[in-house]
Amino acid sequence: MTAACWRYCERWRRDLTAPLVRRHLRRMRRLLTAAMITVGTTPLAAQTGVQLTAGVTSSGILVTDGVLRTKLRPAIAPTIGIAIAIPTGKGPYRAVLAAHYSRSSLRVTDTDFGTTDDLGTLATIDALVMAEGPIAGALRWQFGGGAIFYRPSANQGVFLDGPTHRWLIAGGLTWSHPLSPHLHLVVDGRVDSHTFTTDVLVARHYAGAQGVQRFGLHAGVERTF
């Protein structure tokens, strides 16, 4: 530092624009880091891959009984999944065949009495066919449809006639990060939607069907070929 600077630096500092608050810089650094991870990672485009994931699925209410003031809903369920992704051509799109298995207790809530009760366990298996394409870098969209299969632990209540299945549509985002040339960490968030009713509900004159949304968050690995 020069002598002149020594003489004038104090004044220059006063005249200069006040420095940004440190928090702003920290936030900007975090945003930049996130953007670099999202955009800067090698995209997983048009590669055949097999995914194994684990996570959780949260389901909406299966039945809202307005007359008996009762709600039936599965608890948040641990979920495992497998998927195969196949490139659809030379572009960045893939067809994804995915299946997830989740299992949790089936809970009934009586809104008048304020009681909650477990009615055994309910397993669900969903089988999906989805299209997948790029958004930015390692972030990709998925959209498709398939079927969900309900497997109750006992044939009782709304599942008196046993297992049932419904059609569903699903969409979500998936993010991947390379761990090695052929192995990627994948994280996906998905929402799917279907309408729920069963044979016994129809037989007992329940009209229409209940709209059910499920949210899933899964993480796992993808082996590409």
Partner: protein, 210 residues
Amino acid sequence: MRRPLLGMLLVVAACGTIGSPLITSGEVYEFRDVERGDTIVFHWPRADLPVRIWVASDSPIRSYVETAIARWQAAFLYGEFRATLVTDSTIADVIVRNTPSDIGNGLNRRAPQCAGETDPNINPATNTARLPMHVFMYAVVSDAIPGLASCYAVTMTHEFGHVLGLLVHSPSLGDVMFADPRFDGISERDRLTAITLYSIAPTITLTGRR
């Protein structure tokens, strides 16, 4: 254009609510005991489910107990009544015997082939029901007389209607809860009456075991 349309489909599909059928007063019969100076409503609280039933493992009426439990459980959509057989009578909520009643003040029915009686053990003065309840069912003719099996099936289903809280007989011959029932099963009126019972608050609390 397609993306908003698909998004709208998702939203519409997710917002629908199933339409529950209304239950009108003409579809149910009286299930409350109003003849003892007050209105008595009893049903098993969820906290005490499943109801523990004891019947001797070698009893000739055991299969009819299993049938009656299955029939009444199937009447409900949300597990309001659930029962299980236990092997130890000292922990049972309901004891079923293939003998004539040794209590004699319960709800009873008698057909030409068999008779049944249920003692819900309700004390209207204290608004309590003391466990265990007792159910009796026995043949009044020889086992070889035709119709005994059918009588057992109808009678045990009827007695379990009392066990789950239907304290009054139906006025209709087409219901298993008719005083002298012929219907082998659970009618639509029986079913709607039972689910109506379980949708209102009981006046009776359980005492004794548990």
